[in-house]
Amino acid sequence: MTEPGSDLTGTRSYRSSMAQPLRSSAPANLADILERVLDKGIVIAGDIRVNLLDIELLTIKIRLLVASVDKAQEMGIDWWRNDPMLSTSAQGLAEENRRLRERLEALELESGNVSSDEETEEDTEGETEVRAGVPDR
């Protein structure tokens, strides 16, 4: 979307180096760039100080591009639950979870069977991209 050439006159040398990364397969993807320029490299406190962690909204959304949701939850960020743009799949899962529980309860009542439903919830702690959106309760 951006046209780097437009405000970078005379940059042919590195534009061409960008255009042909040696034998590379994928073009530079924004998430990969942000992951690195926001989070990596040499971190020096400049004279202008803006704590990137203090930046909210879009930047946090960007940080979430690169941070997993469970990491964000660790940081106490959970706004996406109320963000209709982003929370659909989380809501979907939560909703499905709720429906399953209701069915399970109904089944248990019906059959008098007291099976446990715990196994639907546990396992794979670190692997939570999808399930982390589900409020755990």
Binding site: T2, P4, D7, L8, T9, G10, T11, S13, Y14, R15, S17, M18, P21, L22, S24, S25, A26, P27, A28, N29, L30, I33, L34, E35, R36, V37, L38, K40, G41, I42, V43, I44, G46, D47, I48, L52, D54, I55, E56, L58, T59, K61, L64, L65, V66, A67, S68, V69, L86, E96, R99, L100, E102, R103, A106, L107, T120, E127, E129, V130
Partner: protein, 261 residues
């Protein structure tokens, strides 16, 4: 009337290659080389209206702005990197003037110098490995959504069982995938000087539907690049359930931290 500051892109060791005197940075401003004690910072002037504390706080919220600045930052770092071993700086590192930049170079001289000990002659390669998920959502979407309470009998049981089966299948696939990812990582690390596991990118936001099972960066010496590339191409041969995305050579962002030693 508006003040200017120095936006820093990268640091290299002196002497700076001639080619670096010709580049441009953010907003078309010419690159400046600020040298101090054998280190050279690549910088360009920025308007503090836009890049001061006030401006940044506001602008960083603006996705198109952030994207553009990040891309230009990356391009300049890439440009520098093609000319000399370069230690990238984090986005939006800004000093008030060249003197302040020299003071930073002075204070951090030894640490920065140590970074070059690690990264010289090497580049960063990014590798992401996806497990192609046979869209578990598709199965549930096909089912017309049934009111939960009413049909909790046989249908409910079958539904539940199917859900469980699906979940189990998925889990098994993911366990295999984790193992496969570990072995890919081991394979590739063997050709690299150093490696870093990066955080998984969230599929909800990155828009990539498949499950990211490996997001890693490798610091690879230039004389082993070909070997690295070949290995990355062969390591998952015949395993169509995975997709491996590789990019590089990049400036060694993930290996230039001052306290990574």
């Amino acid at each position: 009337m508006s003040q200017t500051g120095k936006y820093l892109y990268a640091v290299i060791r002196a002497p700076a290659p001639e080619s670096l005197t010709t580049g441009y940075g953010l907003r078309g401003q010419p690159q400046e080389l600020i040298e101090h004690r054998g280190l050279v910072a690549i910088a360009s002037g920025v308007d503090l209206e836009e890049f001061g504390e006030e401006g940044l706080r506001h602008n960083l919220e603006n996705l198109p702005w952030l994207e553009e600045v990040a891309r230009v930052h990356h391009q300049v770092v890439q440009f520098v990197f093609t000319a000399a071993p370069a230690a990238p700086l984090r986005l939006a590192t800004i000093c008030l003037d060249a003197e302040a930049v020299r003071a930073r170079l002075d204070a951090l001289h030894d640490q920065i110098d140590a970074v070059f000990g690690r990264i010289s002659g090497s580049a960063e390669w990014g590798v992401k490995m996806y497990l192609r998920i046979p869209t578990p959502a598709a199965a549930s979407v096909q089912q017309p959504s049934t009111p939960p309470a009413e049909q909790a009998g046989r249908t409910g049981a079958a539904y539940l069982q199917r859900k469980r089966n699906e979940a189990n299948k998925r889990r098994v696939g993911e366990e295999y995938a984790e193992e496969a990812a570990r072995s890919v990582h081991t394979e590739l690390s063997a050709v690299a000087v150093a490696s870093r596991l990066l955080r998984p990118q969230d599929p909800k936001l990155s828009g990539h539907p498949d499950k990211l099972v490996l997001n890693a960066a490798y610091l690879v010496r230039s004389d082993r690049e070909q070997e690295f590339v070949t290995r990355s191409e062969e390591v998952l041969a015949g395993q169509d359930q995975y997709e491996l995305v590789r990019f590089g050579p990049w400036p060694p962002y993930s290996f230039a931290g001052l306290d990574d030693a």
